[in-house]
């Protein structure tokens, strides 16, 4: 047992923190809120230059063959910096391709992804808005070398920027929900796809994606016909852990910023951080945020060890969602009126905390999964 970061891990943290502080100031974050693309190609290319899009990609495809732990560290820094853009979607999509893609698909796509030339989006949810197999209803019919897709995907992050949508579809309605799902990569330029942006609390570039007789070549199937769900399940687990890493970085920022403010802000003749109420708030916020990080690293380690981590993924998505939400709310409270404004960045974190709550399953969804894992 060695719970220190390795040198490589430390390096990733320090490089990414420095880079993001310099290249991803809050002005850029706010500016991108209303950007139709939702990201800065300039910064994206620099990130690619640092090898971030290739972090999880094997060396043979031009990547760095990194660990999930390294990804967690990088995402933590992104969460701390409050970045926006399709890195998360692209990287999680990459994991799906690594998991289920054919040799041809890997050889074709991974090098481009590693170069930052290909952006992916995950189109998993629909108007029914649930993350289980029954939530996939969009219909795909076989016709020659293609499948024809009809239906609506909703809450699709980064579709506006993506080259491909990784899309769950129902290819067999007659069997159990989890046995009739296939996983496709749909080119966003295909005829019949219409992408409409949704404006959310955190301007995180979600979209409605309507498929109207969209032809997707069979060659674009990820994995086997009707066998898509296990791939998606694994992806959802990793996505939950990855999202938690992002949230942890945000919570860290909230705690550090609130501690600093409490030391500086004077009311009734002394720093508000000298009041026991504020001290105890901060003690709890710090504690919960620290706990969040440790359990997330544990899950990341399990993923890297290829140990099952269904229970851990659900544990952390529950705990971290609760923690980030509560912590950022208290961060606003400690900052008083200032915290409720756009002049201060605390609101950005609060919005992200609320936004991340339902993603890849909200705490109730995951408590239910924990109960199932416990055999209840």
């Amino acid at each position: 047992m060695n719970l220190d970061f390795t040198e490589d891990e430390e390096l990733i943290r320090s490089i990414s923190r420095d880079f993001l502080e310099k290249e991803f100031p809050k002005e850029l974050v706010k500016q991108l809120e209303d950007d139709p693309k939702g990201y800065s190609p300039e910064v994206w290319n620099k990130m690619a230059g640092l090898g971030w899009m290739g972090l999880m990609i094997p060396e043979e495809y031009g990547g760095f063959d990194g660990s999930f732990m390294q990804l967690v560290i990088l995402l933590e820094e992104m969460g701390r910096a409050c970045t926006t853009g399709p890195f998360f979607s692209t990287t999680l999509g990459t994991l799906a391709i690594l998991d289920a893609g054919s040799q041809e698909q890997k050889a074709d796509l991974l090098p481009k992804i590693a170069q930052g030339e290909l952006i992916l989006a995950l189109a998993l949810t629909e108007p029914i808005a649930r993350y289980d197999a029954a939530g996939v209803t969009i219909e795909a019919k076989s016709e020659g070398d293609d499948y024809i897709l009809n239906g609506t995907k909703l809450f699709v992050h980064d579709a506006q920027a993506a080259d491909y949508l990784l899309c769950t579809v129902r290819t067999d309605s007659s069997s159990a929900p989890e046995n009739g799902i296939s996983f496709f990569m749909a080119d966003t330029k295909s005829a019949g796809i219409s992408i409409t942006p949704l404006t959310t609390m955190s301007y995180d570039h979600q979209n409605e994606v309507v498929f109207e007789n969209v032809r997707v070549p069979k060659a674009n199937m990820l994995g086997e016909l009707n066998q898509g769900w296990p791939v998606v399940e694994k992806l959802l687990e990793k996505a939950a852990v990855a999202k938690c890493a992002e949230m942890n970085g945000g919570a860290d920022w909230v705690v550090a910023t609130s501690v600093d403010y409490a030391k500086e802000r004077i009311q009734y003749g002394k720093p508000i951080g000298s009041y026991q109420a504020i001290q105890h708030y901060l003690a709890d916020m710090w504690t919960n945020a620290e706990l969040s990080k440790r359990i997330t690293y544990y899950a990341a380690w399990k993923i890297d060890q290829r140990l099952p981590c269904t229970m851990e993924a659900s544990i952390i998505k529950t705990w971290v969602s609760d923690t980030y939400n509560h912590t950022s709310r208290m961060g606003v409270q400690i900052h008083g009126a200032l915290g409720t404004t756009r002049d201060h960045d605390m609101g950005l974190y609060y919005q992200r905390a609320r936004q991340a709550w339902p993603l890849f399953g909200d705490p109730d969804f995951h408590r239910e999964k924990v109960a199932q894992e416990m055999g209840l």
Partner: protein, 397 residues
Amino acid sequence: MDFSLTPEQEALRQEFEEYFTEKEKQAPEGWFTAKVDYCYEHDEAWEFHRTIGKELGKKGWLSLPWPKELGGQGFGQIEQMIFQEVRAYHRIPGFDPGPVVAAAGVLERGTDEQKKKWLPLIASGESTWCEGWSEPDSGSDLASITATTGVLDGDDWVISGQKVWTTGAHRCSHIILLARTDPTAPKHKGITYFLTPMDVPGIEVRPILRMYRGHSFNEVFFDGFRIPKENIIGEANQGWYVLMAGMDFERTGVSFVAETRRDFDELIEFIKEHGYDGRSPAEIAVVRHKLAQCQIELEIWRQWAYYVASLQSKGAHVPGEASSVKRVGSELMVGVSQVGLEILGMYGPLQNSSKWARLRGAFEYACQHDLGMTIAGGTTEVQKNIIAWMGLELPRK
């Protein structure tokens, strides 16, 4: 003990109910909240707010609890609560700090001339009022203000300096202004309380955007802004005590919670009709129980608010109780707005402008807006201090 309304109160409630039901139909399209911040944030909402405000003035409903001889309706705090509850439940604006805060100062400490001058103006709904209180270094510790100063020059006080978080300053015709007029006195004893119109030279209002981009807050800068000395309420340098005299009333906050109640009721109807994640509410015990808990807390708060209003009706000075109504109500608003957002799941964070938004994005707005409720008018922490110090008489040091 008798919880029933008197026949007169019932009739009044009925009258309010009918009027505000009717007004609700006249609200602008997509209308989902009457929070006064929202009215400051949107032109169309502001217009509706003003139209209603003047109507309320004509009906005499802005002065329900004032004495009849001063142009009020001579009702008590219970009637005022009923009014606010029904109004807010129907999401009808038209009410600002004027009839409560500005009027309280005048009613408690104003001269006869001041009463004649200000009360009809406030009661008519022709004036709109913002509160010039907080300063950059003085939030919770309001008595420490020093950034806004007043110096007597002939018959006028000349105001210089700055206020911050001045809600609605860019819209309102008048301001209740606290200024440091004796920098040498102890902090509570050098503040003066002014009522003054804002369409006077020497004032500049700069917007501060809320986290959701709404423009309700402002910075207000004064440079040679003149206030005639007859606009002081109470004595010069006694403004802190004028402010305190009117504080208990503002803390009830029934109108805010009534709006939350409305959002919640619409959520319940929505869930009944549309289910949750494709399941019926009967299938989802965890969601049922969360909603039940909100219901429980809303009901319990309401009984408490009426009780405290009844104490205040009898003139009781109950700072602990008043603070607890504010504290519990504001925390409840935050709590319900968060539960609402959470229960709407992926849909929760969609803004009103998104075609897939649910309940017109009411919870997306509320769960950001309402964070200010546990801060403005005395933070939760300050309210708990007041309960501990004044209610429970625990030692301050």
